[in-house]
C-alpha cells in the first residue's frame, strides 16, 4: 500500500478512528494488526521474513539482558547475523553472484552458483536496521529488553515508518507504545498538516520531476549534456521530496495518533558544507551509522588517518545500504571522499589560521551553499544512473555542455513551478523562522486558504499514476 494512494487514505482514517475509539489496553494490538495488513498489502508472504527476524531479536534481547560476559556478546552476534543474513540473502546475494560471474568469466570459467529469483522485501533495510538498533542498545545497557512480544513486534512493524523510516531507536519509540495517548486536537491538526505537506512534496514535486529525470536517465545516450545537467538538478529535488515527503507523511500519521517520530530531514540543500549536509539529510540513518558503526570503529578517539579511514568506510557501507549495485558504492565513496577532504581542509585552515577571502558574509555563505549543492548533485549521478558505464557516459556528456535541451513546455513549466514553490517555503523556514506563517497563521482565512491551495495544487499538478517511492527499493 503506497502512501500516495486512496487505499492508504481510507486505511489511515479507519485505523486512526479505531485507535481513539478503543481502550488503551487494546490499542497496541490494533496497531500491530494494522501494520501487518499494511505490510502484507505488498507481498503477503514476506511477513514471514519479518516474523523470523522479530522472533530472533525478541529472544536475543532477553537473552542478552540475562547473560553476562562473552555469552552476552554471543547473543548479540546471533541477532546481528540473523538480520545481516536476511539482508545478505534478499538484497546482496544476486549482486555478489553477478560479481563472481564476472570474476570467473575473466578467468574463462563458468559460475556454478545459481541465481535466486526473489523480489526484495519492501523496506527491508529500514526495519532490519531498526531491529539491530534494539539488540545493540540492549547489549549496551541503554535499553531494557522488551518482554511483551507484541509490543516488540510493533516496534519493528509500526506501519507509518515500516517501509521507509525514519529508523527509530528503541529508547525513543518503545515506551510510547505504553503511553496513553489522548485525543489532542492541536496535535492531530499538526500531524494532518505535516501529512498534507508530505503529499505535496511527493505528488507535486517528486513525482513530477521524476517524469523528466526518468526520460533522461533511462536513455542517457539519446540526450544532450544540457538535458542531463537539468535532469541531475531535478533528480536532486526529486529524491529529496520523494524521501522527505514520505518521512513527513510517516511522522504526521504517527503524530495524529500521539506518537513522536524523529525528524529525518532538515532542509538539506541549504547546507553550506558537506558535513552540514549529512547532518540535515536522512538524519535517522546518518545517526544510526554514527552511533553503531563509526563509534564502534573508534570514532574520533583514534589517530587522524584512522579516523579518515573510518569515515570513508562508513560512507562506503552507507552506499551499499542504499542498493546492491556498484553505482551506490561509488556514490558512498564519493561522499566519504568529500567529507574527508572537507575535514582535512578545515583542519589545515585552523592549523595555519588562514582567512579565505570572501568566505564570510552572505555572499560567501551563498557560494558555499551552491558549491555544496553542486558536489551533492555530482554524486547523485551515480545514485540515479542505471549502471556505472551509464554514469560515466552521463558525466562525459555533461562535460561537453552542449546539445539541445529536451523539454516540453508543460513538463518544464510544472517542474520549475514545483521547485520554486518548494524552495520558497523552505527558504522561509530556513531564514525567516518565527515570522509570518501560512499554515499556522492565527487568521483562519489565511490558514484555510493555504490548505485549500495545497489541496488544489495536488489535484491540479500532482502525479497520480505509476509513482513509486524511490526509497522502497532500499
Amino acid at each position: 500500500m503506497l502512501f500516495n494512494s486512496i487505499e492508504f487514505v481510507i486505511f489511515f482514517i479507519i485505523v486512526t478512528s479505531l485507535y481513539f475509539a478503543l481502550e488503551h489496553k487494546y490499542r497496541w494490538f490494533l496497531l500491530l494488526a494494522a501494520s501487518c495488513y499494511f505490510y502484507m498489502a505488498f507481498v503477503p508472504v514476506y511477513i514471514l521474513i519479518l516474523g523470523f527476524t522479530i522472533v530472533i531479536d525478541y529472544y536475543a534481547g532477553i537473552l542478552i539482558e540475562q547473560s553476562e560476559g562473552k555469552k552476552r556478546k554471543s547473543w548479540l552476534i546471533v541477532s546481528l547475523i540473523a538480520n545481516i543474513g536476511v539482508l545478505a540473502v534478499f538484497k546482496y546475494y544476486n549482486f555478489l553472484n553477478d560479481n563472481l560471474t564476472f570474476l570467473l568469466g575473466q578467468a574463462g570459467k563458468e559460475n556454478p552458483v545459481p541465481y535466486l529469483s526473489i523480489l526484495l522485501p519492501i523496506g527491508l533495510s529500514f526495519h532490519t536496521f531498526q531491529a539491530m538498533s534494539y539488540t545493540i542498545e540492549v547489549y549496551r545497557g541503554h535499553q531494557k529488553a522488551e518482554r511483551n512480544f507484541g509490543i516488540y513486534a510493533l516496534y519493528v512493524m509500526f506501519y507509518p515508518q515500516l517501509v521507509a523510516g525514519p529508523i527509530e531507536r528503541p529508547q525513543n519509540l518503545l515506551f510510547q507504545f505504553y503511553a496513553k495517548h489522548s485525543f489532542e486536537i492541536n496535535r492531530v491538526i499538526s500531524g494532518l498538516k505535516l501529512m498534507l505537506w508530505g503529499f505535496f512534496k511527493k505528488l507535486v514535486v517528486a513525482d513530477r520531476l521524476a517524469t523528466y529525470v526518468d526520460a533522461a536517465y533511462n536513455y542517457p545516450e539519446n540526450h544532450s549534456g544540457i538535458t542531463l545537467i537539468v535532469a541531475t538538478v531535478f533528480f536532486a529535488f526529486q529524491i529529496y521530496c520523494d524521501f522527505s515527503g514520505y518521512s513527513d507523511i510517516a511522522i504526521g500519521a504517527a503524530r495524529v495518533m500521539g506518537f513522536d517520530l524523529m525528524k529525518n530531514f532538515n532542509r538539506p540543500y541549504f547546507a553550506s558544507s558537506i558535513s552540514e549536509f549529512w547532518k540535515r539529510w536522512h538524519i535517522s540513518l546518518s545517526t544510526w551509522f554514527k552511533d553503531y558503526l563509526y563509534i564502534s570503529l573508534g570514532g574520533n578517539r583514534v589517530a587522524v588517518p584512522r579516523m579518515y579511514f573510518n569515515l570513508f568506510i562508513v560512507f562506503l557501507i552507507s552506499g551499499l545500504w542504499h542498493g546492491a549495485n556498484w553505482t551506490y558504492v561509488i556514490w558512498g565513496a564519493l561522499n566519504g571522499f568529500y567529507l574527508v577532504a572537507a575535514i582535512m581542509r578545515d583542519r589545515f585552515i585552523a592549523k595555519y589560521k588562514l582567512e579565505i577571502p570572501g568566505s564570510k558574509g552572505a555572499a560567501g555563505k551563498s557560494f558555499n551553499i551552491l558549491f555544496t549543492f553542486v558536489l551533492i548533485c555530482f554524486s547523485w549521478i551515480f545514485f540515479r544512473a542505471s549502471n556505472v558505464s551509464d554514469a560515466f557516459l552521463i558525466i562525459r556528456k555533461m562535460a561537453s555542455f552542449d546539445g539541445p535541451l529536451y523539454s516540453t513546455y508543460p513538463t518544464m513549466f510544472f517542474c520549475l513551478l514545483s521547485i520554486i514553490m518548494l524552495l520558497a517555503v523552505e527558504a522561509k523556514q530556513e531564514y525567516f523562522k518565527g515570522s509570518f506563517s501560512f499554515m499556522n497563521n492565527r487568521n483562519p482565512v489565511i490558514r484555510y486558504s493555504t490548505y485549500i491551495f495545497l489541496l488544489l495544487m495536488i489535484l491540479l499538478m500532482g502525479v497520480f499514476d505509476g509513482g513509486q517511492f524511490i526509497y522502497f527499493q532500499f
Binding site: I189, Y409, Y448, F464
Partner: protein, 309 residues
Amino acid sequence: MKFNSSIMVLLKKLFILFFLLLVIDFAAGAVLKYFFYRQKSGLDYQTIYSMKKSREDILFFGSSRASHHYVPSVFSDEFNMSAYNTGRDGNFILYGYSVAKSVLARHTPKLAVIDISRKEFQRKEGGYDYLSSLLPFYEDNNGIRDILNQRSRFERVKLFSRIYPYNSLFPVIALNVVRDKSKSANINGFIPLFRSIDRPMKTIETEPAYELDTFLVDAFRQYLRAFKEKGIPVAVVCSPYYDKYVMKDATIDSVNEICSQEAIPFLDYSQDPRFSGHQSKFDDFHHLNEEAAREFSKVCSDSLKKILF
C-alpha cells in the same frame, strides 16, 4: 466529554475545509472545462475533434504509430474520400476503442483502419494510466465510463473532483486556447516526423514472454464488432518496425486469431523489407519519418483497396 468536544471541533474544521474545497473545485473545474473545449490546437484538440466532431469517411485509430504512419491525404487520393487520423502518442487500444465508440454514436465512416503494435495486449502495472487523456470526457460520455473506470479501483472516487480530469493540463490548455491552429504540425491528425535513425538495425532474437491482458483482448474484439455491427469495413494493420524480430509476438498472434474469427483483414507490415532496416525511413526504431509514412500509406491504401473494395 472533552474527547467528544475535541472530535466535534475537528469534524467541524474538516467539514468547513472540504466544503470550501468542494466549492472551489467545482468552480475551477467548470472554468477548466470551458477552456478545454475551446482549444484550437494540440493533442487534446485532436482528441476533442476525433471524438466529437470528426465526420470524415476514412478514420485511422491507434497510438503514436498510427498518428505518425497514416497520411490521410494519400488515402483520400486513393479512395476519393475524406480521411482523418485519430491516433495519439502514448495511447493504445483502449484509447482507440473509446474514440471509436464516441465516433460511432454520431457518425458512420466508410472505412476504419486500426493500427496495432507489438505487445499492445501485454498486462502491465499502470497499463491503463495513459487513459488520463480521456478523463475530461468522462462526465459527458457514458459510453467510455466503463473503460475509464479500469484505470484504478478508486477512479470513480477521484472523479468526484471536477478538476482532477484536468490534472496536469492547465498550462497546455492555456497555450492551446491562444495558439493558432495553423502553427500545429498536425495535418488531419497526421503528425509528420523528419529525422533519420542513426543506428544499424538490430536483430532481436528473443524477448521475455509476457502475459496477455484479457480485458484488452476482449476490448479489441468488441472494438472490431462495433464497426461490423454498423456495416463499416474495417482493417487491422501492424505498421513497419525498424528492427528485425525473430520471435513471434503474442499480441500479433492474438490479433491474427481474432481477425480471422471475425473475418476482418489483418495486414502485417511489421517486418516489411521495403521499410524495416532502412535507416533513411525511420525517425526512431518505432516510427517512420514523413517521407516513409507517405510511401507506407500508399502501400497500405493500395492493399486495402484490393481487399475491401
